[in-house]
Symmetry: C2
Subunit: 244 residues, 2 copies
DNA sequence: CAATATCAGATTGACATATATCAATTACCC
DNA sequence: GGGTAATTGATATATGTCAATCTGATATTG
């Protein structure tokens, strides 16, 4: 069903089978699997699939049926809203130990984005139908899932609102700060994304993104090279982000 | 606490007390109160407040604490994301029999938008703390609430993505079709919104909105006057919306 | 009751700015 | 050394801004 390179149901070992999903979290929300009883957990996990993708592969494609929830065990992926005429908007980067749900899981069973691997990825596919079974039985599980949806909603919503309300410098500043704070957690940081992808995160063309980077460099706010960014005046960048 | 004109706890009559909220729905999701037992329903509704607002009044203000869920009994309101520098983006219009929740209710207890009355409005304020009480007890209620969140999320998400991906003519087409199909359900339709508000729904200035309207009029796609729109070639408008 | 004043919103035009597009180079990695 | 991504410059397009005028609703006056 999905472009997969390896299917590896490590059935021999319960630890291996559950651990990766039990370690996942997202946006500060509790791990949704914590509220499950051992029996429920086993039922949900027993036929999950552990799948490897190579960098560049599509993990889920926009508008296809949403049948599985995805836990990322290792690697990094981009969440893309594909527009008409080939415009791509990257609305999120997901990493190790993130859970990804479409957002409309309960309602329309349809992927609203394409998720594509940026690095080689190991992840688990868990059937949403299994999950629904326990929503009606275990309400603390239902609440945790609701919290996960809520936090993903808020995060994405803020991203989109920022993209709409801000001019290019503000959007570039947001992208640079997001990478530093949320993804790489260091300064300077090396990134694996292309400038085209950074531009897609900022809702502009790569040429415009590069020109804005250059302006920041000329103002002494950052240093940058092909694949690294050094934020020199973070306060200034935050101010630019704030002013939009 | 909120700018209210009248507080009217019609305590004498249970029908009056519950009916308006029991009739609410949203985006096709089930009414969340249907899954409650009579006792639970009574507990949630017994100290709800029925409040009237006049056209123009602010019902909830962005960034204030989110403590209540709002059911609209009669009237129409706009949901606005306020940006820096006075830019306003109207992301939704809510009407009679709609439930409005912030979206981040479970997580950060904070209003992410301003809601303002477009007409005189009668609505109910229901404490979210009351609602949470029953999430852990009644899982069918929890599922219904999750569905409501999901459908609101998807709707808003599609709106924002459209705003980002499309050029002005596509956005204007979306607004005209949305008003016809979702709000007024007639063609031609009379609207109470100003051109500024229509522009705020389309993510552009009023001047740009008017110029686009005129282009549509010149192409014979619509007729319009001060406060009415007649869509003459709906297929063309849909095509413009689709092409972005 | 008609004539007029008033005011907010609607419209138009000229212009400024933000952003995209296209066509070269140039730099870097295998 | 060949290919992909990065960069730069020149230009086109999309959209916003500002100022002026127009329109229609309501209020005011005689």
């Amino acid at each position: 069903m999905h472009a997969s390179t390896t299917i590896n149901n490590c059935d021999s070992c319960d630890g291996c089978k559950y651990n990766c999903c039990l370690n996942t979290s997202n946006c500060g929300a509790t791990n949704i699997f914590n509220g499950l009883t051992p029996v429920e957990l086993h039922s949900i996990m027993e036929n999950k699939r552990q799948i490897k993708f190579r960098a560049g592969e599509t993990i889920t494609k926009q508008n296809t049926p949403l049948t599985h929830l995805i836990c990322i065990k290792s690697g990094m992926a981009k969440v893309v809203a594909e527009g008409p005429k080939g415009k791509n908007l990257i609305i999120d980067i997901i990493k190790d130990n993130n859970i990804f749900t479409g957002g409309g899981t309960v309602i329309d069973d349809s992927h609203h984005f394409t998720v594509a691997a940026l690095t080689d990825i190991e992840c688990c596919f868990i059937e949403t139908s299994k999950i629904f079974t326990f929503l009606g039985i275990n309400s603390s599980f239902a609440i945790d899932l609701m919290k996960l949806y809520n936090s993903q909603h808020i995060k994405m919503h803020n991203t989109l609102i920022n993209l709409i309300h801000k001019y290019m410098p503000g959007r570039v500043a947001d992208t640079l700060l997001y990478l530093k704070n949320e993804i790489y957690d260091s300064n300077p940081y090396q990134f694996i994304l292309t400038k085209q992808e950074l531009a897609d995160m900022s809702g502009m063309t790569k040429e415009s993104f590069i020109r804005n980077l250059k302006d920041f460099e000329d103002s002494g706010i950052i240093n940058h090279s092909r694949n690294s960014i050094h934020i020199l005046k973070e306060e200034d960048l935050i101010e630019i982000s704030r002013n939009g």
